[in-house]
Symmetry: C2
Subunit: 208 residues, 2 copies
Amino acid sequence: MKRIAESTVRRLSLYLSFLEEIEGRGQTTISSDELAGLGGTTSAQVRKDLSFFGSFGKRGLGYSVPELCVSIREILGLGHKWRVCIVGAGKIGTALAQYEAFSTRGFHVEAIYDSDPAKVGKAVDSLTVRDVARIEQDAAKEGYDIAVLAIPPEFAQGVADRITRAGIKAILNFAPIQLSVPADVTVRTVNMAQELEGLSFALTNRIE
Amino acid sequence: MKRIAESTVRRLSLYLSFLEEIEGRGQTTISSDELAGLGGTTSAQVRKDLSFFGSFGKRGLGYSVPELCVSIREILGLGHKWRVCIVGAGKIGTALAQYEAFSTRGFHVEAIYDSDPAKVGKAVDSLTVRDVARIEQDAAKEGYDIAVLAIPPEFAQGVADRITRAGIKAILNFAPIQLSVPADVTVRTVNMAQELEGLSFALTNRIE
DNA sequence: GGTAACTTGTGAACTAATTCACAAGCACCC
DNA sequence: GGGTGCTTGTGAATTAGTTCACAAGTTACC
């Protein structure tokens, strides 16, 4: 299988969200052009993105909305229920634990961890904050697929090392730091400072 | 001025965070190769990124850490104090209002808004939640530069329309929706579902 | 059955981004 | 002052990603 660009995967995820809404409205077919319009891209881009994985449409007709939903879900691996653990029971960590978009899309938050003894044992939604010291043994036992790091940057690399050694292969990192992990581990970093600085750059360099 | 790629801006932001740390440790010069190593890129990439904006290094020596910090801050427009307002006083909105990385990097949260009467008037940190109905007049009066949207997706486009009409030119959007805005407005969207689905894809398609 | 109106899937062309590779500049030392 | 060892800045080459353009397939209708 040819390497798939990250931009393609991001767009597939976007298409899926549109398709789910459209499916909810009862529309049964959609053309690449219509889907492109919703996502701010081009019809050729939509067709190319899908073509990496097969052919899902009917010439002259377009795509069946429900079928395309199923196909994209399959491509993205959304058939599974992924087991997620959150590390860091601060503001961001607890907000994420309660974030509904997680569960509604097949990502199940199994546990939340912190190193602060004052937080361990407290309830967050239906979960109890666990001591991060246990995370390796829990990871082995519960088989977490994804770890979400919502901890201060100075601890992030240490925790990343420990959880990757424990076998976790995917990390969603909210710490403003570049994690280094083994090649078979995938990291996505959400860096608010970086996003804001991108906006700052755009505001500053607008008049050219 | 030639159009600068978003990836370049992201990396500049990353370099800056490394440089600030390095400056704190008292190191006075750095080579493109060393900086590249920290950011997981190549020395040519670092030099090319900087070359779009001028020449900041000394051949044979490398870059002066403090000078490069200043230069990148200037490029990114971090000299200003940017005025930020947050829309949505839910979990994410309030977490963001208290997020320190905001203020330490020159982004000053001036106000937080919500439409829920039960939330309006409540305190969040040193701010009082305001009624979102006021946001246009406040924007005009206080001159917000950046709006952060932390509201449910069904309201996001409506609020985006209102604040762009009120003159805001930059939006950091946490709603899982594609915003459509006038061409002179910059939007950065942080879409957690998209990030998680990217991880799901990576986990699913790892063995090839 | 034929034709008109669509729309997909995909090589080819193009554009953007990254990496290469090397001349030119600087510091240090003899 | 000239040589040595580095490191930048940047055109050229390469690689990656997007858009074009069109053959081929589908439906609707006469």
